[in-house]
């Protein structure tokens, strides 16, 4: 074996101590024995559990599922012919493209910002902390965060608050079985209702509704009264047309008006001429509409459901896939679950990036930065042309570490992604485990996938060796 230029500093030559008799001279044999004893345990373990098995996996990937028959490259052909496996590879590709860039960027931003605050240690501790938590527990944590029901999931709750503010849910949203009971009122396709009878000034309308549970009638509602005519106005009442022994379409005693109902006055051409809202007894009044014939409509907004929550861990695709065949659709879609898992993983690793980049920042030569400032560079110019180039080696370390990390991603997908999205959000390491250790136990195919994963990290091996040898 050729000797490499030594990476370790040359040793000082041993000086034999003659005067005192000194230590017995160590022969070559003794030195070898020492090397054997010190290096031995590590060498045996690495040889038996890492190096030999890794080579054996390469060999195993050329045999069939039970290992009895040599099949050449069949497993690799199966690998790249299986949609499920290709989807797993596609997802790893998404992870590799998106995740390292984001982590490095956010880590850099955090590192730069924390340099300017007094409580940077506290901030770093908080952001760094998730690294101590198992990725499996992280999956459980984020599954709770991502709950679809806005009453349970904190993200959907926040999104729901915003959506409902700008797009308020109807006060009768809970009454999902609501139906008109007066013959002149019919349901419209948008979810609202409109009277079929035309009205003009001085007319009245009675709009009866059924299918509303008593608890869905707003508190404070008073008994409905037959509307009084008013000259120059269209008046009417909207009421809950249900009472024991009552007649449908008639306001019986004790039937409540429906307050807060948004009504539209529709012109003959269907456009909205006026709007109003019912009072506590369900009565309404359109004052002085221009002469003409109108219809009254119960606006769909009354029944609009509140924000129902986004299924963050679902398979809805972020890329358009309509018009594609089944296989192409499976391969070209980007399920939302991928992105949600990436966000959860960012929560874990941004602290790492921040700490490593922060250490790099602290090690920078302050004089260079000061010189830039003295020369009149703005803060951004200093960062862009001085700090950033000096930090590049550190950023590359973080970036590469994240690539390796993401290639091996396993636990978090297993814990976070529900069964219903599992295949769509699968990744190589998880698929490899499933192929080899669950169900079918196809050890040949599983080995082939492990080898594929290994091939992906080979460039990193060379990069690291180059970096470490300088």
């Amino acid at each position: 074996m050729a000797t490499l230029p030594s990476i370790v500093e040359p040793r000082v030559r041993r000086v034999p101590d003659v005067a005192t008799g000194g230590p017995p001279r160590r022969g070559r044999g003794r030195n070898l024995l020492a090397v054997g004893l010190f290096m031995g345990p590590a060498a045996i373990l690495l040889g038996a559990i890492v190096v030999y098995p890794a080579l054996a996996t390469i060999a195993r990937s050329l045999y069939d599922r039970s290992g009895g028959t040599f099949v050449g490259t069949d497993n690799y052909r199966t690998l790249f012919g299986s949609t499920e496996i290709l989807v797993a590879i596609r997802n790893n590709a998404i992870w590799v493209i998106v995740f390292p860039v984001l982590v490095t960027f956010i880590g850099l931003v955090f590192a730069v910002l924390t340099e300017r605050i007094l409580w940077s240690t506290a901030f770093k501790t908080i952001v760094f902390m998730p690294m101590a938590i198992s990725l499996f527990a992280t999956g459980v944590i984020w599954r709770i965060v991502y709950e679809t029901d806005p009453h349970r999931g904190v993200i959907n709750s926040a999104v729901g608050t915003v959506v409902d503010t700008f797009h308020a849910p109807g006060s009768y949203a809970s009454a999902t079985n609501i139906k008109p009971s007066t013959a002149t009122l019919t349901a419209r396709p948008d979810g609202g209702m409109a009277s079929t009878a035309t009205l003009s000034r001085g007319d009245t309308a009675q709009l009866g509704l059924t299918g509303i549970l008593p608890e869905f009638v707003p508190t404070g509602a008073r008994d409905a009264q037959p509307p009084a005519t008013a000259s120059g106005a269209i008046t009417g009442v909207v009421w809950r047309d249900f009472s024991v022994g009552g007649t449908p379409g008639v306001i019986d005693g004790g039937e409540k008006g429906l307050p807060g109902m948004h009504l539209d006055l529709l012109s003959a051409d269907g456009s909205t001429a006026a709007t109003t809202t019912t009072d506590l007894s369900g009565a309404f009044r359109f004052d002085n509409p221009p002469a003409g014939s109108y219809r009254v409509a119960v606006d769909a907004a009354n029944f609009r459901a509140p924000f129902g929550g986004v299924n963050w861990l679902g398979v809805q695709s972020l890329t358009p896939t309509s018009g594609l065949g089944t296989t192409a659709r499976a391969l070209l879609s980007i399920p939302l679950a991928d992105i949600s898992a990436i966000v959860a993983m960012l929560w874990v690793w941004c602290g790492f990036a921040m700490v490593v980049i922060g250490a790099g920042l602290a090690a920078l030569n302050r004089e260079v930065l000061e010189a830039a400032k003295v020369d009149g560079a703005t803060e951004w110019q200093t960062f862009r042309h001085v700090t950033f180039p000096l930090l590049r080696p550190v950023l590359i370390v973080v970036f590469i570490t994240m690539i390796i990390n993401v290639l091996k991603i396993f636990d978090i997908i297993l814990a976070l992604v529900p069964d219903s999205s599992h295949q769509e959000a699968n990744v190589i390491a998880l698929k490899m485990w499933e192929l080899g250790f669950t169900g079918g136990q196809n050890l040949g195919l599983s080995s082939a996938l492990a080898v594929f994963l290994f091939v992906l990290v080979i460039p990193v091996i060379f990069l690291n060796i180059r970096r470490i040898r300088g």
């Binding site: 910002l113 101590a132 009453h151 396993f410 994963l453 690291n464």
Partner: protein, 310 residues
């Protein structure tokens, strides 16, 4: 990168150098900027804490409460919080067994890696032998080999050892420990070697002249000097093994020797129905790693910085 090249991240950043007095408007803008920055970072910090707090509060609520309202309602209605789930889970024998198994795996796997790696690193730095530079390069290469690469042959090997020697490794704590130690070694040796390379050789030469053997020098000089690196390594390895799921899932699932992560995983299909169990068990699994993290944060950060290549 060596462990000594980068100062600890928790070291205070050098004080900002005084700049010439800025006009009043600029100074006001700077104060405002600083306020904005602090507000933004406080918000980010709270955001970062939110998921963990959510899990913690959820673990103190009943299943019924979980389905009827968000965990944040638990903060305003503390009376509804209960430790019942913790009581239930601790009284179920599965959890205690799994916790004990996790400790039985983690402690030996950590100690063995620390010991074996320091020995190997000693021989890489202080003993002169042919090919040691090649061995070091091989170690750097092995550092990124995915542990998935060895699962199938090692499982086969464990079965073969059982059939020929009668020694059961598959499905035992020992089998998992061996796997973790082996895959922890490349990084561990790399870390320790870099640290030992910073120890002045003269120290050892002096001892050698005084007649100390290699073992003596390792025990009396190198090991004590290497303590900071050993601590970093131990914490790293501890967290890594404690939090592992895959290795135990392959070698140790579905039997009484399954560790905590596998124990929780085995119930994952009931996630929707039994959030009480998941939140509580997950939180219990986090307690020790978090305690280790907070107690030895400095060492942990040092390890992260020294081994940012793993």
């Amino acid at each position: 990168m060596t462990s000594t090249a980068l100062p600890s991240a928790s070291a205070p950043a050098p004080a900002a150098v005084e700049t010439p007095r800025a006009p009043r408007g600029a100074r006001l803008r700077r104060v405002l900027n600083r306020t904005t920055l602090n507000v933004v970072l406080v918000a980010i910090g709270l955001l970062w804490l939110l998921p963990t707090v959510g899990l913690l509060v959820t673990s103190f609520r009943t299943n019924t409460d979980y389905f009827s309202s968000g965990w944040w309602q638990g903060l305003t209605h503390p009376a509804a919080l209960t430790i019942q789930a913790y009581k239930d889970i601790i009284h179920s024998s599965g959890l205690v067994n799994a916790l004990v198994t996790t400790v039985l795996i983690t402690v030996p796997a950590t100690l063995l890696v620390v010991l074996i790696a320091s020995l190997a690193a000693y021989s890489l730095v202080f003993l002169r032998w042919r090919g040691r530079d090649w061995v070091f390069i091989l170690l750097v290469a092995l550092m990124v080999v995915p542990l998935q690469m060895a699962l199938i042959p090692v499982a086969t090997m464990y079965k073969w050892i059982h059939d020929t020697l009668g020694l059961q490794l598959f499905g035992t704590v020992a089998g998992v420990v061996i796997y973790h130690v082996a895959f922890g070694l490349p990084f561990a040796i790399f870390l320790m070697r870099n640290f030992y390379a910073g120890i002045p050789k003269d120290l050892l030469e002096a001892a050698r002249i005084d007649g100390a053997g290699e073992w003596m020098m390792f025990r009396r000089i190198v090991l004590p000097l290497g303590k900071p690196a050993l601590a970093s390594l131990a914490i790293f390895q501890f967290l890594w093994v404690w939090n592992d799921l895959l290795v135990s899932l392959v070698f140790n699932s579905g039997n009484p020797n399954q560790p905590f992560t596998v124990f929780i995983f085995s119930q994952i299909r009931q996630f929707g129905a039994n959030i009480e169990f998941f939140s509580t068990a997950s939180f219990i699994s986090m307690v020790i790693p978090l305690a280790v993290f907070f107690a030895f944060q400095r060492s942990f950060v040092r390890g992260v910085l020294a081994g940012a290549v793993k």
